[in-house]
């Protein structure tokens, strides 16, 4: 069956010091085993995206980062798009922040779906005072770090796909337990990408009470590999670096914050038992 998807979009992006504005309209066709994508001539009315908020967020981040830290990479963007597939038509708008903040030999990686700077400020303060690398046997994950871990815990920790408007084919994303097997929805981050099945908006089930006395991992220092995390931790007024292997999730609690990991993850505070990496 031939399926034709069209997308009209506009993005304003601040990449380090450069502001980039991109307007695009494209079509993706799936016909049997062949996927093809190309720009299209006819372009609908593109949504308005104001650069002012992007610039303000980027300037704010730039002001926060001071020596001995350096801003290795900054992407701040806002985009809006209109999608069509058959007789379905829908639209969305998204904000994204990706930061790489360096203090050799470490770098902190931050991914956000809003322009609030509170999280960034907290991480920057802790990173500036982190001195040592320490092992931990039990740790608390901040909602942001827990969200990043959720896609790596599929099948081992109970979680839900949270209900939301449409997936990459315009279908409703239903609330349901995440289970083994093929996810019902399609993820299409770009019209140039072949859509793939994915669980959307992962939302961890509450599990036991969070112990708030444990040291808290507040940021990632590297992408998560399997179940190994390099993290920046806070323990009261101290900050340190740790590498942990997740042995067992002993407590979890979802939060309302949403993070742009995989096809979306809600914040997930967690307590973990760790093997020393």
């Amino acid at each position: 069956m031939k399926e034709v998807y069209r997308k009209f979009g506009r993005v304003v992006r601040r990449e380090n010091a450069t502001l980039v504005r991109v307007d695009e309209a494209g079509e993706a066709i799936e016909d049997g085993g062949l996927f093809s994508a190309a720009p299209i001539d006819s372009i609908g009315e593109l949504p308005v995206v104001d650069a002012a908020d992007v610039m303000a967020a980027a300037d704010g981040i730039t002001r926060i980062i001071k020596a001995p830290l350096s801003l290795e990479r900054m992407l701040v963007s806002e985009g809006a798009a209109v999608h069509e597939l058959g007789d379905r038509r829908w639209s969305d708008r998204a904000r994204r922040v990706h930061l790489s903040i360096a203090r050799a030999p470490h770098r902190v990686l931050i991914d956000l779906a809003d322009f609030s700077l509170d999280r960034v400020e907290r991480i920057v303060v802790a990173f500036a005072k982190a001195r040592s690398e320490e092992p931990v046997h039990r740790i608390r994950l901040s909602p942001a770090v827990g969200a990043a871990l959720l896609p790596h815990l599929l099948g081992s920790v109970p979680m839900q796909q949270w209900a939301a408007p449409v997936d990459g084919k315009g279908e409703w994303i239903a609330n349901m337990p995440v289970r083994d097997g093929v996810p019902p929805n399609w993820f299409r981050p770009s019209y140039r990408a072949r859509p793939v099945r994915a669980w959307f908006h992962l939302h961890v089930d509450d599990l036991a009470e969070i112990d708030r006395e444990l040291p808290e991992a507040i940021a990632l220092l590297a992408p998560i590999h399997d179940r190994t995390l390099r993290v920046l931790c806070e323990d009261r007024d101290r900050a340190f670096v740790s590498e942990i292997n997740v042995d067992r999730v002993i407590a979890a609690k979802a939060s309302a914050d949403w993070f742009p990991y995989a096809a979306g993850c809600f914040g997930a505070a967690m307590n973990l038992e760790c093997r020393i990496a």
Partner: protein, 325 residues
């Protein structure tokens, strides 16, 4: 077309078993205006698309013969670089990226490695049917190591410490080592090191060993911000010492590499024989103990930095290192 406008037509296709499974066309322009880039997927100059489409027809004809691999062809007609066509070829977990003129020979080389099993580099190769890819590389100089290399241990032999290990980088593979240790270091503005006097590493006119950053501003697409990136790394030796090590592991095919700018650590994942090499760039510089011959073309690499993937040509003579592990 002025330097303030970048335009590109790019065709990207994936073929499996001789059948087209994915096809992408990208057209666009980026206008540089007062520190901003305004980009749109419209091309005011149709000649780039015509050039791209004509080249795609030619390249498809060439790769049609490679029907037993996963093949990706990318044709880039841009306003700032010559027409560039690349062919990615994958057999199982072995892959290379090359150019159309060498695609059939390089595919034969890769097929040979794939059919030879996990450590084909440790025994003599069977004669190649098509020999362009490695024509100048191995043959008489090939050393047959007695024990297979294994992932993680890097093929170390009993009684041999990590600092005594000799590696012979054949087939132009040393270009990848120096792409990471010298090329990326220069892109990041890291201070030059004390390199062997016989060694030269250039990207165009840029002397990478002297810490000169590549001159070219490159970008993957019209949506991207251009950066100083390598285009074609050429490693040369001038009267370098060379003695065939009595025992050595031959590096024949690279899986990937990386340079960590915060620690100046180089990591090379070797595909044939499978092993991982991790060292500081100081250690890389100190490990270079000899070289022989003219630069040999390595098929090429896709270099990824800040999410932008670009093809980089790679050439290096046979080089011997000591103590990398």
């Amino acid at each position: 077309m002025t330097a303030d406008i970048y335009a590109a037509a790019v065709r990207d296709e994936i073929w499996i078993g001789g059948s087209l499974v994915e096809s992408r066309l990208s057209l666009g322009e980026a206008h540089h205006v007062r520190g901003q880039i305004v980009a749109t997927d419209r091309l005011s100059d149709p000649s780039l698309r015509e050039l791209c489409d004509a080249e795609a027809v030619r390249v498809r004809e060439i790769v049609r013969e490679i029907h037993d691999a996963r093949v990706r062809i990318v044709i880039r007609a841009t306003s700032d670089e010559p027409l560039l066509s690349t062919v990615g070829i994958m057999f199982g977990d072995l892959s290379i990226v090359t150019t159309p003129q060498f695609a059939l020979g390089d595919a034969a080389m890769l097929r040979h490695f794939w059919e030879d099993g996990p450590s084909p580099g440790l025994r003599p190769p069977s004669p190649r049917k098509r020999g362009e890819g490695l024509r100048n590389s191995t043959r008489k100089e090939r050393f047959v190591a007695p024990l297979p290399a294994t992932r993680g241990e890097g093929g170390r032999r009993r009684g041999e410490g990590p600092h005594q290990r000799n590696l012979v980088w054949r087939n132009g593979t040393a270009a990848i080592l120096l792409h990471e240790a010298a090329g990326h270091a220069s892109e990041h503005g890291h201070a030059p090191l004390r390199w062997p006097a016989w060694l030269r590493v250039h990207d165009g006119a840029a002397d990478l060993l002297a810490g000169v950053s590549p001159h070219a501003l490159r970008r993957e697409s019209f949506r991207d911000v251009p950066m100083r990136r390598m285009t074609n790394v050429v490693v040369e030796q001038r009267n370098g010492p060379f003695a065939e090590p009595p025992e050595a592991i031959e590096i024949l095919l690279i899986k990937g590499g990386s340079y960590e700018p915060l620690t100046e650590m180089v990591t090379i994942d070797v595909a044939v024989p499978p092993m991982t090499i991790r060292a500081s760039r100081d250690q890389v510089a100190a490990s270079l103990i000899g070289a022989s011959g003219d630069p040999i073309r390595y098929p090429g690499v896709i270099c990824s930095r800040e999410g932008q993937e670009l093809f980089v040509g790679s050439h290096a003579p046979v080089i011997v290192t000591e103590g990398l592990g």
